[in-house]
């Protein structure tokens, strides 16, 4: 399973904190996972199509071309605003 986490405004708009996705032992691109999530409903389609969306695999920022597989932690979130 891939553990998918959502944070901040994105978590609220999706009304989802954590989502589990099985990829049957296959290596996927983050963009493929994103596409699967977008196909869930219109709201997810809209929110997960935002161009400023950031993503992290195993707690490191990565581009959408990065690979993910079972056991990985994938996170999506809006631009950061700390400090």
């Amino acid at each position: 399973m891939i553990k998918i986490l959502f944070f901040a405004a994105l978590r609220e708009r999706l009304d989802c904190e954590q989502y589990l996705l099985s990829c049957d032992g296959k290596m996927l691109q983050v963009a493929d996972v994103l596409q699967q999530l977008q196909s869930r409903c219109q709201n997810w389609q809209q929110e997960l199509s935002r161009t400023d969306l950031l993503c992290a695999v195993n707690q490191h920022l990565v581009p959408l071309t990065a690979s993910v597989q079972d056991g990985d932690e994938l996170a999506f979130f809006p631009p950061v605003t700390g400090g």
Binding site: F7, L61, A75, V80, G82, G83
Partner: protein, 149 residues
């Protein structure tokens, strides 16, 4: 060089951090920065909630401190960032640098804040008289990174 990073809900004491930083051997300069919760221009901010990504946040702050260490000769770097709900004027973030000379300490402090604002997974939500709003990222924060690249 020593690196100290903390993500905490408790407040921090600038004087204690400064005392610890100035103890480093060969330290000739200490630069500290504190960021506070700023009141809105119309004085309607009740409080602000800071959310983060536990685990990634600490790693990101350590990585930023290490990047600073690779660019300047530093004795010690302390980064403290608070999470949870904070009132106007409360302290949010502390960056303290000890080094042999002031130029490295000033530069590293600015570098760390610029990277923290763009790379560390924190998000602010303002609670105001008219409702709750997530704070949007500022283009000026992103532009500030350009000078280090």
């Amino acid at each position: 060089m020593s690196i100290f990073v903390a993500v905490q809900s408790d407040d921090f004491c600038v004087a204690s951090e400064y005392d610890e930083l100035r103890r480093h051997s060969a330290c000739g300069a200490v630069v500290t920065f504190s960021g506070l919760v700023r009141e809105l221009s119309d004085n309607t901010l009740h409080s602000m909630t800071l959310e983060h990504y536990p685990g990634m946040t600490e790693q990101a702050l350590i990585a930023i401190a290490q990047q600073a260490q690779s660019r300047w000769q530093l004795g010690a770097v302390h980064i403290i960032h608070r999470v949870g709900t904070l009132k106007p004027n409360e302290q949010i973030v502390f960056v303290g640098i000890a080094s042999a000379h002031r130029a490295a300490a000033f530069a590293a402090c600015e570098f760390i804040m610029d990277y923290l604002k763009n790379r560390a997974p924190f998000w602010k939500k303002e609670h105001t008289a008219s409702g709750d709003y997530w704070v949007g990222a500022k283009a000026s924060d992103q532009q500030a990174l350009a000078r280090w690249e």
